[in-house]
């Protein structure tokens, strides 16, 4: 006998509020330009690692950013999106050009013929960045504190409020998951 109550309920203000509150850290960078400044090098390296040719890599990076630019409003995790997109583009490229042989001139022109192990390394690092970008925020900040800021578990514990053992536990899981993902992608360790 109750009337349709839900019709009377005003729209929840929570969602509106949420959208208007700027997320503090680690949210979407304020502009694609800034993101570009930060990620250009890493992406380019990754692309080079994937396709092995500087020219193609640059093209792919450019294309990635252009695509992101179009979708900027919709992409929630642009960093992860960039790496993911670049990887897909690179894999597409490799698939489509599987039968191409590199012309000598082009190699000379690009001036970037990296040794294969360097390429492997770049690819692996790029993949790690991709996985990092797609990681939950908490784990990522742990990684940052540990490997970027070089903090000890104890210091991390103080900053995050997690217990020391929990820091260790979570980092262990992060590393293990990364290793698993890398192996899945055909990269066993740093040797490429």
């Amino acid at each position: 006998m109750e009337p349709l109550v839900f019709e009377n309920i005003p729209l929840p203000p929570a969602s509106a509020v949420k959208a208007w509150v700027p997320e503090s850290m680690n949210s979407k960078p304020s502009s694609i330009g800034k993101l570009f400044e930060v990620e250009e090098s890493g992406l380019l390296r990754y692309a080079i690692g994937l396709v092995g040719r500087r020219m193609v890599a640059e093209e792919l990076v450019q294309e990635t950013f252009l695509r992101l630019h179009k979708l900027w409003a919709e992409v929630e995790n642009p960093r992860g999106w960039l790496y993911r997109c670049l990887r897909n583009l690179a894999l597409n490229h490799l698939r489509d050009h599987a039968k191409e042989t590199e012309l000598v001139e082009e190699t000379v022109e690009s001036g970037e013929s990296l040794p294969p192990e360097m390429l492997g390394r770049s690819e692996a690092v790029g993949l790690v960045r991709l996985l990092l970008a797609e990681m939950p925020e908490g784990d990522r900040s742990l990684v940052r504190l540990k490997y970027h800021d070089d903090l000890r578990y104890e210091e991390i514990s103080q900053r995050t409020g997690l217990s020391v053992s929990n820091v260790g536990y979570r980092l262990h899981h992060v590393l293990k998951a990364l290793a698993e993902n890398l192996r899945h992608a055909g990269i066993e360790g740093s040797q490429g």
Partner: protein, 837 residues
């Protein structure tokens, strides 16, 4: 049962061993741990493999996270163009040098050196015309010719030469037919696509999006023939942009790209309002903003839902911060939302009724605020949350004949006492507002008897002649809750000692422990913390001081902890008590819970010695609960002894079902308040009491009818907690009957039923003089009178209080172990000194 090390060497390592290895390579392991792991590595090759893998990942991580030594950059030209394409999206004419990473459009050139720009421009001067044309045509194709769309679609399936040539024919026709329409098209659609096509042109050969590419290629050829079109378009664009300062001056030689590039800024934002990635003047006007700096802030991850969807007004944030809590930082009384103004003229008849929550002793203001928030969420809101911060207490007596009933919420706190103590110690002015007599006389423990076994609450009533007033008595009414639980606001510092010896691996026991932990975790709040120690041969810290609301992770840890080895209870107890002491919180309930399935078979397993250490813990305020898992092999006697010595509980889990019913219920008793919504009503007998006055509780008074209105919230009491109310009454010697009756009503959380009890307030014709009354009566009376003296802040009162000096001096003798009583005496001395000055 407790078999020693089991040789469980499969390929996968135990997670905790993995964690240790990770800690090791992360440089966290102590020398001892490192040596131990080194040894293990030699024994078990899979550890070495795991270690190598982790090291590799760690190397990659470090490289991935750290900034690069020599950052790679795109080729300068490509970079400039890309930046332009991207930058166009955020070049905001109003924010001049605001953005750091990327400059506003006007300032974009410096990103690459001017020299490079110049060179690039020279090199591509020719191209620019072509590009402009390409994109115009390309767009034109895309937009105006449906048949072309079809070709596009079909051609995207494959890229044979046939499709290619067909496309070429189509587009040739189209261009010739529709040239006049082009301008209109450009106006609306030049934009991002322009930049994109331009770049694509530069890149020249690309596989992705090949149709656009192809059309651009064609367009270029077309353009060479019909180049006249371009200046027209460009002029048009320039005109449209005249008022904009974006127009590139012609002296540099390329008005067209500048004009086009800037044109699209406005166009995109105007044409595609739902997702404005550009802030233009028009946009600003649309949202009635005057400056981007003050107004707009990009937010992320938002759905595109209208013009303002992606922007949040900073102004909203910068709006005057919600007025800071009226209380100063050291004021713990954060009851403001619950406070009610009592009307002075009406005596006790407060308009509304509100409960004070129990204030914890050492909680910060912020905690209180949070708690208040939570309370206000859970609790049915008072009808009119009055905000009047303070109304001076009424010292007038209520005439019983007019208003025989006094109702209030039984609130227990000692905050006011502590504040006053600090103020007196520093000889600073006392904020009279913060003097709440009930928090003075409730600051003491009077040693009132606990309720009988089957009673939820007990009431103890004492009387004495008022020491300072003629024909007045003081009546102390003390309620005490049964020992059944813990106050809701009281945080829990829980240390769980979990037996992980080999015998615990048994499935039924593991399940029981799991269920037990689940119910335990479910009872924890965010103020609680848990420390989990697993112990077998050696105790190991699994989680330290984990916040109660994150305690769900314990279950994961539990699942990842293997069961192996013997049972060394001694070591576990040692570590447990060390950690419990480390995280000891006076205001919290500190408990150690031991979950074990068997007898201690390693280390010192002497029952009396273990019991002694537990007893020592208890004396430090740490209770000890024991929980036996499984019936066989359980050292029942020892666990019972330990928990008895530790003032804790002892229970046995025989199965997972037990963990549900028994364990959780028992734990609930320990973690939840024993009585909620405690209200007291005193009905005085007008034939015996001429007038009365409740000392204190000004803010906790209720209307008579609210007593049985369970929607009106009131205070909570924890287990074994006593709450005291002191009345000043005028007994009529020639009257008849008793003084009155005391009613108490509260919610029993264990049964969720309301409990109501009543006691008679007897009339004693030979009420003892104050100095001959019981010590607890004296203490309560002194505390109440002292508080009211502070509250009145008048010198005469201090002088009158002086008469009580002998009684006050004698108080510490009656309460030898109560520091608070000494404090009270000290405060009294201070007050005397201060008022004498």
């Amino acid at each position: 049962m407790n078999h020693d090390d089991n040789s469980n060497t499969t390929n996968t390592l135990a997670p905790e061993l993995e964690a240790r290895v990770v800690a090791w390579i992360a440089g966290e392991a102590s020398a001892f741990e490192a040596a131990e792991l080194e040894r293990l590595t030699i024994d078990k090759p899979e550890i070495a493999i795991f270690k190598r893998r982790m090291q590799a990942v760690q190397g990659l991580l470090a490289e991935a996270v750290r900034p690069e030594m020599e950052p790679l950059r795109l080729a300068p030209e490509r970079r400039a163009k890309l930046l332009q394409a991207l930058g166009a999206a955020e070049a905001e004419p109003e924010t001049k040098a605001e953005t750091k990473g990327i400059k506003p459009k006007r300032l974009k050139a410096p990103i690459i050196s001017m020299d490079a720009v110049w060179r690039a421009q020279r090199k591509h001067q020719k191209w620019i015309f072509r590009i402009a044309a390409c994109l115009v045509l390309g767009l034109f194709f895309a937009m105006s010719i449906p048949s072309f769309q079809k070709v596009r679609q079909s051609s995207s399936r494959g890229r044979g030469p046939f499709l290619f040539s067909m496309d070429r024919n189509e587009s040739k026709e189209a261009v010739q037919l529709a040239l006049p329409a082009m301008e209109r098209e450009t106006k609306d659609k030049a934009g991002f696509e322009v930049e994109k096509a331009k770049l694509e042109k530069d890149v020249a050969v690309r596989e992705a999006e090949r149709m656009e590419q192809v059309s651009a290629e064609h367009a270029r050829r077309r353009v060479q023939r019909s180049a006249t079109v371009i200046p027209e378009i460009a002029d048009n664009a320039v005109q449209r942009q005249k008022e904009s300062d974006e127009v590139r001056p012609a002296e540099r030689g390329f008005p067209i790209p500048g004009a086009l590039a800037s044109a699209h800024i406005r166009l995109t934002s105007k044409d595609i309002p739902p997702s404005p990635s550009v802030v233009t003047k028009d946009f600003m006007n649309d949202i009635a903003a005057t400056s981007t700096q003050s107004l707009l802030q990009y937010t992320s991850g938002t759905e595109v839902n209208g013009l303002q969807g992606n922007f949040s007004a900073q102004a909203a944030q910068a709006a005057p911060a919600p007025s800071v809590a009226p209380a100063a930082a050291d004021d713990f009384v954060v009851l403001t939302p619950f406070e009610i103004s009592t009307s002075t003229d009406k005596g006790y008849a407060a308009k509304q009724t509100l409960a004070g929550g129990k204030l914890e002793k050492s909680r910060s203001l912020a905690d209180e605020a949070k708690a208040a928030d939570r309370r206000s969420e859970n609790v049915p809101k008072p009808v009119q949350p009055a905000k009047n911060p303070y109304s001076p207490p009424s010292f007038t007596e209520t005439i019983t004949a007019k208003e025989p009933v006094s109702t209030f919420s039984l609130h227990v706190s000692d905050v006011s006492f502590k504040i006053a103590k600090a103020a007196l110690a520093n000889a600073t002015a006392i904020d009279r507002e913060r003097i709440r007599p009930e928090e003075f006389y409730n600051a003491f423990s009077y040693g009132d008897p606990s309720p009988a076994l089957n009673e939820k609450i007990s009431c103890h009533i004492e009387q004495a002649a008022h020491p300072l007033l003629q024909q007045r008595n003081l009546v102390r009414i003390a309620m005490k809750v049964a020992a059944a639980g813990r106050g809701a606001g009281q945080p829990l510092r829980l240390t769980v000692l979990l037996d992980t010896s080999g015998s615990m691996e048994r499935e039924d026991r593991a399940a029981a422990v799991r269920r037990a932990m689940q119910s335990l975790v479910s009872l924890l709040g965010r103020n609680d913390t848990v420390t989990l120690i697993g112990f077998a041969r050696q105790p190991r810290l699994l989680a330290e001081n984990m916040a109660g609301d994150k305690a769900g992770e314990l279950l994961a840890i539990l699942g990842a902890t293997p069961a192996e080895g013997g049972t060394n209870l001694e070591e576990a107890l040692k570590l447990g008590s060390e950690l419990a002491q480390r995280h000891f919180d006076k205001a919290a309930q500190n408990r150690i819970v031991l979950l074990t399935d068997g007898a201690a078979n390693l280390g010192n397993a002497d029952r009396t010695q273990l019991a002694e250490s537990v007893e020592a813990l208890r004396q430090e305020g740490i209770a000890f609960d024991a929980c036996g898992v499984g019936m066989e092999g359980l050292d029942d006697g020892m666990l019972e002894a330990l928990s008895r010595k530790g003032d804790g509980r002892y229970y046995v889990l025989n199965s997972a079902e037990d963990a549900d019913a028994g364990f959780a219920k028992q734990l609930a008793g320990a973690l939840r308040p024993a009585a909620k919504n405690v209200k007291v009503q005193v009905r005085f007998n007008p034939a015996r009491v001429g007038s009365y006055r409740l000392i204190g509780f000004e803010r906790h008074r209720l209307r008579e009818e609210d007593f049985r209105n369970d929607k009106v919230d009131a205070a909570e009491l924890a287990a074994e907690e006593a709450a005291v109310a002191v009345y000043q009454v005028e007994p009529l010697p020639q009257g008849e009957g008793e003084l009155g009756e005391v009613y108490v009503r509260f919610l029993d959380p264990s049964t969720l039923s309301m409990v109501e009890r009543s006691w008679t307030l007897p009339y004693d014709p030979r009420t003892p003089a104050f100095d001959r009354a019981s010590p607890s009566m004296q203490l309560a009376g002194v505390a109440a009178l002292f508080a009211e003296t502070l509250q009145r802040g008048e010198k005469e009162d201090v002088d009158r209080l002086n008469e009580l000096t002998p009684v006050i001096k004698a108080l510490p003798g009656h309460f030898p172990n109560a520091d608070r009583v000494d404090d009270l005496v000290e405060m009294f001395e201070k007050l005397k000194k201060l008022s004498a000055e």
